[in-house]
Subunit: 355 residues, 4 copies
């Protein structure tokens, strides 16, 4: 029972491997009669695409989305939006050496054992290329949410040990002002230098992304299993390389006292602090939603590593070519996309609370 | 669109408020013809129930489960298992003072705003009492999984700043050897002392739970949205008071290099390290699954707090009676239950991978 | 992967066998803050219960529903409504002779082969007793729908070869005026006589039920798989003994010409004829929804029949005791319940069409 | 909440309008490591495509499927299969006259009212062109099922008042031997003549299709809502123009006695008669599954009809160009496809019955 769909009302189903003909998807449950800005969707894809700057992988893919249905004279019709992103880097011979090899900390081994067959070109279905489809759906969700005032601020909070440690809302211009997408210019320079250094070593490094969502109406989230932060957590943990998720005070709350952690109310129902991260009892409380996502250092490194092949024999895997030394700058639009898909879905779910 | 169901094949749907007649649920998709140990299920409930020791809330509830269907001559029939846990503490007047008050960092405010009505007795549907139903389903899942060799070790990893910091598998006897359910006797004493101290202050404190799952077969987890750790994460984040989830290296991976983080293979397909936490590309790789869950200090404190009422006026909320100074010792069986439900569901999902 | 849930937003999950402790269910997604008439729910159950008149089975079950959650001071809270209907006729020895026998055209054989185990008392999970839970959820759905003006008229259209053949909307009083629930008094007498005759012979006979739903708003139903009549059809076909479903002109449309079948519009968007049965392209068009459901003669007859046992040996099955000679009078509230659940669910689904 | 997905494990999600760029879909949950015959899939599409013979619409569409993912070296990988069927007949001006007009018994009116916007070209999403995607998924399902011995025989049972009235299994060659797809040559000639006559009149006529499925294993179908025939019924009723569904004895069972209708067992568990249509208690019993589907005469006729426009004014709609006088010959592969998708899905669901 496969898992290529996300969402219950606003629902994305994706397909596609790294090196077959195209990746793409179907977005069902799109609210009808809404004017879409197609260019803005492509711009989101450009924020994720390889080759966008000197600190990311230099693999060339234009990642151009083509919409096939569900849009009529510029507006959504309520019918599913089908789309494809052609793979320009198809069917190369680059991966033949991986046919019989399991790379350390890649999904090669688990896919092979699970399915008994594996499309080894570029990681096949396990490639992070798949996340481009999420960015398409997320960009649509963001436009819909923007029309009711909901805004996102997603930025790099940490690379290696360099941490920004803010929970503020920053404007897109501040985030896009540098290559690492950290809105503090000084810290951004440090981060960028670290990434360049790691890159030179042929190594990779982890990072963290903060997402802050403002003007979310009170009431999104469903008792008891579909708490808003539970589904946000699932959304984030489903992104390649993510190892952790925390909402509001998160792991820091472990060593706090209740008397210190409780968010006291103002007369208008807002709270004086926001340890809850904008969600109380699984339901948005009108305060900014704030969460943080941990990314491991990606597994593809430009160094020789010992590994095994499908026969269980020891082999050496050599990194070659192009890689991301740190994935978090490119992961910013992915985190934001999954957040937007989740928030829109819960907004639509919330419409059936009353008759 | 409500969210009272969890799982896709092995599926739990729950109902019940803290102080109405009963809580309960329906478990659908239970594999047929399996002999259940009913007593063992009740024992799991006893590990969660209030009043079990001097460091937890002294509220009295026997939490006795009654099975109503789906079991015939001791065996599962494949029909849904319906069950109830009667509320013995029903309809008290204890909560009348909360009728018009929103307690800080409780779900009072968000439920009232979302639904326009609120069962204020004992927190109604937002009460953690609901998790007893998860323990019932989890206990059944654990028995089924045990029959194919899958074992769970769930224990308290941290209370306040006292941290155990192990990822080892401990036997139930070691975990149940003390009131805080931390398998290190010395650290357990420290933790217990801390809880007693916090309790005396009328305050609460956060904590963390580690869950280690052994002998999970290779192949559980579905690309791309239903990655095994994504659904484990959702399962955990849906538990009351949980603020964070991390798999394997988790947040520590942020500052690691790929060359250091990659789990190199042994010839048999096991790995020399387990930073992945037993899951690679969203699919179990046969290594122990290991994750950690962060709990905030619970909101009910025995101290006066400023708050507001439904009219937006300032009021003082006084804590009274019985509370948990630290919820993690009682949350151990809940974490384990949700883990077991998730693993069993993915085991059953995995059966349809081949024709 | 079991199938004990129905609906997507307004969702019923049921449990229970004919002769275990209780049957019951969880209704999730109930719109909040709606005042329920509990007595009216029980009255619907009374229309389905055995022993209600001289022409139905004389088995005694009071079928009293107990609500356990989700209702606070008489109103729905948005939390799931849990309920049970205790089995008063439990654990009798009446069925021991069926332990090893497969009755013709019962589910004994298929349950045994599918699950490898079977609760043989009273048919276990395959008993039509399960439909009482549908009536509970349906009664709640009907009350909610009545508050927005949607009304149901469900009646017996045919028993054996005696056919009423109307598509009119009849008031409850006319339907409840006789034991067979056919609103034409003269035909009702004929039907009743036929049932008494068949009953005397120890035999059973089939029948058909017509359901007409008025004031359904335009727009319910989802392209392309979840057409409103497709889900109504599934709802009906999931009821025990149902063998056929037709919407509007149904099977009669086969021999019609398009020029004759097309429903021409009036200026206000209503249509001059209603061959469509109130649904066009899978979406309600504002005309009365009208469908017809075929029931086979139930399999339990008071005559000896040849059959086989679990060893594949020939045995004689003797009917004994109490049975329904014709199930359709008691099935009227079940058909209406499933229709109401379906219509409410699609009403709630339709709320997310726009942002 | 949209409805463009069908199935639970083997799940098809479709997109596409009649005259936008392409139609297509994603098939998730495809069993892995199965060798597909791509040509055979195209052949199924050819059986549905317009212009295939002199008695169907002469609209030209090659309906060529392009697979984009999920297939590696000819075999399924377990990853979702994405596919498109480009629209060759795009964006014509043929439909401008329909922009403001609601055609009788079409979905123009209901789509406009539901969504507030409508892609009027060729019927947009409500066009039966969408069913081509079902044929693709169904052709894949049929290949998988054939490998475990399950076979389909789907043929025209009735056109207008000319009825074949068989429940036998016929080989594909017999069915494909004539243009109407009725395996009785003499009746086929009568049917063909009728269609030609109706066509000359610019009118349309209804019909019925029989589907017989052999060698279905015992045990497919889930109590209680997901009975096998309930989901087959939904599958069929979701096809454009379908007005009725009956399983086994169907509507004829209404006037039968139980003593006559019960299927007596043979010693091997087969039954002497098959009034049940191969399904007992919602679960396949190993006998051939047999059902019948009623199609109305399609709404597009080549005659002038009175109708209304979006302003509620009376207008005359003139049929022009190309149409199907009777849709059932082209609907045969669609019925078979939906049956195959349903049976495969339940086969996969049944795999989780035991641990």
């Amino acid at each position: 029972m496969a898992g290529s769909s996300f969402g219950t009302i606003f629902k994305l189903s994706t397909f596609g491997e790294s090196h077959e003909f195209a990746i793409g998807g179907v977005i069902d449950g799109v609210p009808a009669n809404f004017e879409l800005d197609i260019e803005a969707i492509q711009k989101e894809l450009d924020r994720r695409k390889p080759g966008q700057s000197s600190i990311v992988t230099q693999r060339k893919e234009s990642d151009t989305v083509q919409f096939l249905s569900g849009i009529f004279e510029g507006k959504t019709t309520g019918a599913p939006i089908g789309f494809i992103i052609p793979n320009e880097n198809q069917k190369s011979k680059d991966y033949d050496h991986l046919k019989d090899t399991f790379r350390p900390s890649h999904a090669d081994f688990t896919y092979q054992k699970k399915f008994g067959i594996r499309d080894f070109n570029g990681g096949g279905r396990s490639s992070a290329r798949e996340t481009a489809c999420r960015v398409v759906a997320g960009a649509i969700a963001k436009q819909l949410l923007a029309s009711i005032g909901i805004r996102f601020s997603t930025y790099v909070d940490q690379i290696g040990e360099i941490r920004f440690q803010s929970t503020d809302f920053f404007e897109p211009t501040a985030i896009e002002a540098n290559l690492v997408r950290c809105p503090d210019e000084k810290i951004a320079v440090e981060m960028e230098n670290l990434v360049r250094e790691i890159r030179k070593e042929g190594d990779t490094i982890g990072g963290a992304i903060r997402c802050v969502i403002e003007y979310v109406p009170i009431g999104l989230g469903e008792p008891v299993f579909d708490k808003l932060h539970a589904d946000l957590g699932k959304a984030m943990l489903s992104i390649n390389a993510v190892k952790g998720f925390e909402i509001g005070s998160g792991f820091d709350s472990i060593s706090m006292r209740g008397s210190q952690h409780n968010d006291l109310f103002n007369a208008d129902g807002t709270t004086k602090t926001n340890h809850s991260g904008g969600i109380q009892g699984g339901i948005s409380n009108g305060m900014p939603i704030s969460f943080r996502v941990a990314f491991k250092p990606v597994a593809t490194i430009m160094q020789d590593q010992l590994s095994i092949n499908t026969e269980g024999e020891e082999v050496t895997v050599s990194g070659k070519g192009r890689h991301d030394a740190c994935v978090v700058p490119r992961a910013v639009p992915i985190v934001e996309a999954m957040a937007a898909i989740t928030i829109l879905d819960f907004h639509l779910r919330n419409k059936s609370i009353h008759l």
